[in-house]
Subunit: 252 residues, 2 copies
C-alpha cells in the first residue's frame, strides 16, 4: 500500500487542534492541491476563503453552532460555490445578463458548482493530511447562510457550502467504520432487492453498535439505521431553497 | 513535497487507455479509499456502480455523447447520489414514508448527496492515480439521465451524478493551468472589487491563450472568459429540475 492510500485510509475528523497557525507555504500547497482537482468543462466553479481573523471566526462559529474548533485551529477554509466569476467572464466578452441567466440559474450549474467545490476540497484534505495535519469539515455553516454570507461578504451567486478546519491534531480520534463494501459498491447495475440491502444494513448496525459500546464503555449502542431515521425524520435547513433563490440561484 | 501532493499536483485527465482491466484488488482499494472520505453527519449518501459489461458501457457512452473512453478503459465507475438507502433505514426503524419525506425531498439533502459523492470520488481519483492509473470524469452522463438510470436500474432517489473512467494511460496529455491563486483564494472575505477580479481573469486569459497556441501549433488561441461566455450563453441539461422531481427529489 503506497503512502497516498495509507493517508486516505487513515482519515478521521479532528476536532481539537494545537495552538499553531499554518504557514503561508502550507496554505498555498493546500489551495494549489485543491485547484489541481478535475473541474467540469474547466469552469472551476468555486472560491476558497481563508479566515484567520479571530473575531470573524467567532462569528462563523456562532452562526454554525458554537463549535470551538471553528475558532481554534491552524487555519479555517470556507469552500464556496462560485458562479459570479462566470457572470464577470460573460460581461468581459460583451454578453448581456439576459444571455446567460438561464444557464447560471439552472439546477445543472448548481450541481456543477457543488461537485467542483467538493472535488477541490477533498484534494485539500488529502494534501493537508499528507503533511501530518488534521481536518474537520463544517457542514453546519449551512445552518445560517444568511449570516455567513454577511460575515464573508460573498456576492450573489456565491454560496458558502462548508467550512474546513485544518491544523495540528491535539487529540486523535477513532475511525468510524463505513457502510459494508457490498452496500456502497454495486456491480453492473443497482441491486434492486431491498431485502438484500436491508440485510447488509442490519450487519452494519451490529458493527456500529460494537463501535459505540467500545468507545463509550457500553453507554451508547446506536444503530446506524436509528441515527439515519432520526436525521431524516427531523428536517433541517429547510430555508435553503428560498435562500438560494434570493442569492440568484433559483435552480430552474 | 511528499508523494501524495506530487500525485495530486500531477493530475491530468486521461482519455486513452491501454486494453488492460483493473484487478478486483485495485477496484476494492479504489472504492475503500472513496469510502474513507468525510461524510456529512455520517449519512454516506452515495452509491458507486462499477460497469464492465461491454454492451452496457456502449449504451452509457451513447447516452453520454459517444466518448470511446467510456467503453475503452480499465474500469468504469458511476458515482450516484443515494437517498434510497435512508428511506430503507427509516423503514427498518418503523417510520412511515410521510415522516421522512420533507427531509428526503429537500434542497439541503440534495446538496449533502452531491457533496458526499464528490468527496468520495476525489479520494477514488487520488488512490487510482497514486497506483499509476489515469482517470477521466464523465459529467456528460448527465446529458441523458433518463437513459442512464434505465441502463443502471437505479431506483427513485438515486441519481447518477458522473462517471469515472480509470485505467492504464495509453497517452499522457498536458496539464491545463488553473485560475490564478489570487482569483480562487480570498483572504478573510470575498474580494468585492469586480475590476480586480476582471484583471486577474485577463491575466489568466493570456496564460490560457499561450497554452492553446503551444498545444495546437498556433491554430487555437481561446481565452478562458471566451470559453465560459460560450458555455453560459448555451444552457444545457435544462431537463434536470423536472428529472429530479420525477425521481422523487423536487428539491423543496
Amino acid at each position: 500500500m503506497n503512502e497516498t492510500i495509507k493517508t486516505i485510509l487513515n482519515h478521521r475528523s479532528i476536532r481539537s487542534f494545537e495552538d499553531k497557525k499554518l504557514t503561508d507555504e502550507q496554505i498555498e500547497t493546500i489551495v494549489k492541491s485543491a485547484q489541481a482537482a478535475a473541474t467540469s468543462s474547466f469552469v472551476q466553479a468555486y472560491t476558497i476563503i481563508g479566515v484567520t481573523d479571530r473575531d470573524k471566526k467567532e462569528k462563523l462559529a456562532e452562526a454554525a453552532g458554537h463549535q470551538r474548533y471553528v475558532v481554534e485551529n491552524g487555519h479555517f477554509f470556507v469552500f464556496c460555490l462560485d458562479l459570479h466569476r462566470h457572470e464577470l467572464a460573460a460581461e468581459m466578452e460583451g454578453l448581456d445578463k439576459k444571455d446567460i441567466i438561464e444557464s447560471i440559474e439552472s439546477t445543472e450549474m448548481f450541481m456543477v458548482g457543488c461537485i467542483d467545490a467538493a472535488l477541490a476540497a477533498e484534494n485539500a484534505v488529502n494534501a493537508a493530511e499528507s503533511m501530518g495535519l488534521g481536518i474537520c469539515f463544517i457542514g453546519a455553516l449551512r445552518n445560517n447562510l444568511n449570516e455567513v454570507t454577511k460575515i464573508l461578504k460573498t456576492p450573489d451567486r456565491v454560496i458558502p457550502l462548508f467550512g474546513l478546519c485544518v491544523g495540528y491534531p491535539a487529540k486523535i480520534t477513532g475511525q468510524k467504520q463505513r457502510l459494508p463494501f457490498e452496500n456502497i459498491y454495486h456491480k453492473e447495475e443497482y441491486i434492486q432487492d431491498d431485502e438484500v440491502l436491508k440485510d447488509q444494513l442490519k450487519q452494519y448496525n451490529n458493527d456500529i453498535i460494537d463501535y459505540y459500546k467500545e468507545r463509550t464503555g457500553g453507554r451508547r449502542a446506536d444503530r446506524w439505521t436509528e441515527q439515519m431515521a432520526q436525521k431524516v425524520s427531523h428536517p433541517t435547513r429547510m430555508y435553503m431553497k428560498d435562500f438560494l433563490k434570493n442569492k440568484g440561484l433559483p435552480l430552474n
